[in-house]
Each structure stands twice: as C-alpha cells, then as structure tokens.
Subunit: 142 residues, 4 copies
C-alpha cells in the first residue's frame, strides 16, 4: 500500500457512515479514488433500489478523497457543495463510485464523479449517477 | 394522522436507508415535509461530525416527500437531480431536514431544502446545508 | 446614494455585459441586490422568450453583488459556481433578478437568487428562475 | 451541411442572444455541439474578462443543441436546470463551448459542457468552465 493509499485509508476508516453503508475503498491514485458499495436492503428506497442518498454518500466521499490525493501536506478537504444527476434507478449487485479531480487550486478543487452499477449476469456496467463537486482545502485539525 | 401523512409514512417506512440512518418523519403538510435525524457516531465523517452524505440523504428524502404531497394520485416521485451547499460542519445532537415545494409542474417539481442543526444547551438552530432539487413525477409502480 | 451603493454601482458600470444586455442596478442593501432587465428581442432564445443565458447572467451578477455588500474591505467577489432551475418560460416585459446572501464566510459566501417576471397588465410577478450560488472572496486587484 | 446541422442552425439563427453575444455555431454532430465566442469588451465583467454570464449562455446553448441532436422528431429542448463551475478567469481571444449528451431519455437528457479558452500565442486551450445540465423534451410549438 502506497503512502498515499495509507493516508486515504486512515481517513476512510474513521468515517462511521462508510462502515454503516458497507462501503470499501477500492482504488487510490493521484487524482482518482474508487469506493465500492455492495447492494444491501438496508440501503434501499421505497422500491428496493439503492437510495439516492447512499449513492450520493459514496460518490461524495470518492470525490473528496480524490481531492485529498492532490492536497498539500497538512491540508484536509471539506465538501463545499455538489450537484448530482440520477440517470436511472440504482439497480445492481454492486456499485463503484469514481471520483476524479478536474481542476486543483490552492483553495478550491473541482471534481467529477460517477456511480457505476454492476448487475449480476451482465457484462460491463451502467452509470447511475453523475456528480460535479467543489471541494475546499482547510488546514488539518490537530 | 391525515391521509396525506399516512401515504407519506407508508413510503417512508419502506425506505431501508432511512431506518439505517435512524431518521424519522416528523411533519407532513401540503408542500412541506420534515425528517428528523438524531446524531449517531455511525453517521460520522472522519472528524466525528455527521457525514455530508447522511445530511444529504435526509434532505433529499424530505424534498422528495414534499413533492409527493403535491403529486397527482397514482404518481410517484423520483429525484432527477439536486445541488447542495454545506454551510458549516454538521455538528449537533439532532438535525431536522426541511423540504419545501417551490414550483410544482405536471412533470417536474422544484424543491428547496435545508438541514437545521440543534445543539445541546443552545437556543434555536443553525442551518448546516441548503439544497435545490428537481423531482420528476412518474406513474406509480403497481 | 450610500457608500455601499456607490461601490457596487462602480463595479456594475464596468461590466460590459450588463450594458450589452440593457440591465440596470435597481436596489443595493446589506446582503441583497436587485438588477432589472427590460425585455428586448436581442436577448431572445428561438421562441422569442428571454434566453436562459440572459436570465442567468443578471441573477449571477445580483448574487455576486449581494456577496460583495458583505465582503471585507479590499476583497472582491468571484463566482465559484452556481446552479439554476428554470421554472417557466421567461416571458415578460421586464425582469427583476434578486440576489441574497444566505451565509457569509471569510472565504465562501452562499447566495440564493430568483428572477421575477413582470407581465404587462398583470399584478404581481412570476418567478421564472431560482439560483443557488457559491461566491469566493479574493484580494482586490489594484 | 447535414439535415441535422441545418435543423440546429435554423434554431440557433433565431436566438437573438447568440447574435448579441457574437456567438457562432461551429460543430454539430450526433450528441455534440460546439459554439464559438470571440472575445469582445461588450461581454466583460468588471476586470475585463468575459463575464460568467456570457460563458454560461454559450455552454447552455451548446448543451441544449447537443440534446436536440438526439431528440425525437417533433420534439424541442428546454433547459430545466444546470450547474456550472468556473475554474479560472475567462481570459482569451476566443472561446469554444462544447456540449455533449451523457444520457438521453424520452423526457430528460443529461448533458455535460465545457468552455475552452484559446489565448493568443499559446498552443492548446484551458478549460474555464464545466457544466452539468438537465434538458427536458417538449412537443414543438407549431
């Protein structure tokens, strides 16, 4: 595990919500982070699909950690805001949220994210959501 | 409980994620719905505050159900997209997500939402997040 | 004219686009700015209504100047991002864009905006667009 | 000129705002449209850069026309909403707004857009803005 991956994994491990949702960190590279979410009934909306809020939570974290891979030492990342479109019902046996840095400034980092749904017995994936997010760098809490 | 409240409560009760987060429906009126979320460590981000994703989940649901209070019979509501700003850390012992309809069309309903944080020993509340959302009406699944 | 109004008016007067669109500054208060836009065929989209881009331009400026009323001396405001919903066609003889500060931080200011359409022979107005925007404070250029 | 290009060009030609801004249609393909905007002082904000509103107007139109390339016959496209991030000052001698369809449904089409700035004497371009937009199909007015 790289130093970068270890840094992200330590923060990810401290996010109670990611554990509550059952999400795991699956890729960490400069400017890109993937978070995986297996389907579970405890994440559902009223029709049994995964709730938009769960989908949003993992892709927000993926975008935030993607921004963190590009942050200066001693800086942390906070979500200032994001916008997300839901393209189709979040139907699948597992989901991969992909966060990517598009533009990294001293203060603000703009990321895009997508959530890919993998269905049993189907090749490839379908994109169920697309995010555009603004992350802000803050001095790390001691 | 009004018919309207009962309709919303039935759908809310079927959302596994709302139960997983510990959220409850606290107000249902024409065009406005409140969802309450008590603080819990299992909703946290890395600093112990409530994760942006949990905040977002409850206000998305509040906006969706606000839209549902104005939907024609036989119609359901799906989130097309939303945008959310996080104004300050989600620090509090309980949170109330307020969703309100701003404009209801046949097809698209625009809602605004806010998340209010109540802190122990403090009067009033602080707004921690603001949402602007587009909901779409679809024929109800049988 | 107050000092505040004069400060905003000087900047507004330097915005070539506002003159090109025919927009004028109609109210400046702490945390709130109005910009007025009369209908003109040179602002139209393909059906003769005012183009979403013109509507957006005036409410972006109204939000930016609302943020500027709350900025520290020596600071300027730049739009980091915004989201806008179009509620109905921009049909009217004049439009008033209202920008309001919702939360002002040292660095980021969150504003909401709306565009009101006034139609000939009708009392009141209709809201044609709603914005939620993030403005960033930067040191003023000399 | 293809039939598709001719259809888009006819609508574009009827947009008074695009002429007011000095924008021209530079590419029309299935799912992608480019609009070019030369720098002009009459598009400026207070520092002489191109105003966010002008940048937004052309990329909104590019996204809308990209959606129109995928619309069923007899359907028109209206912007429901969009979100745009401004990555750097819009400094350049010309700008190209690129709109692309990401997901086309019967009712809603999700597009992404970017605005590229070309500066005199520099190779390549810089992205000054990124958009994520929701377009809605409506029956064409006769």
């Amino acid at each position: 595990m790289s130093t970068l991956h270890a840094r992200i994994a330590a923060s990810f491990g401290a996010q109670g919500l990611m554990q509550t949702l059952g999400a795991t960190l699956s890729l960490v590279e400069e400017g890109e982070v993937h978070i995986e979410l297996p389907f579970s009934a405890h994440l559902s909306q009223q029709h049994g699909y995964v709730h938009a809020g769960a989908v949003t939570s993992v892709v927000d974290s993926a975008c935030g950690y993607a921004a963190l891979t590009r942050a200066a030492p001693g800086q942390e990342i906070v979500t200032a805001e994001f916008k997300i479109n839901f393209l189709r019902p979040a139907l699948g046996e597992r989901f991969v949220a992909v966060g990517q840095v598009q533009s990294a400034g001293k203060l603000l980092t703009v990321c895009t994210g997508e959530v890919r749904a993998f269905r049993a017995g189907e090749a490839g994936y379908k994109i169920v959501a697309m995010m555009q997010a603004t992350m802000v760098s803050v001095a790390a809490a001691r």
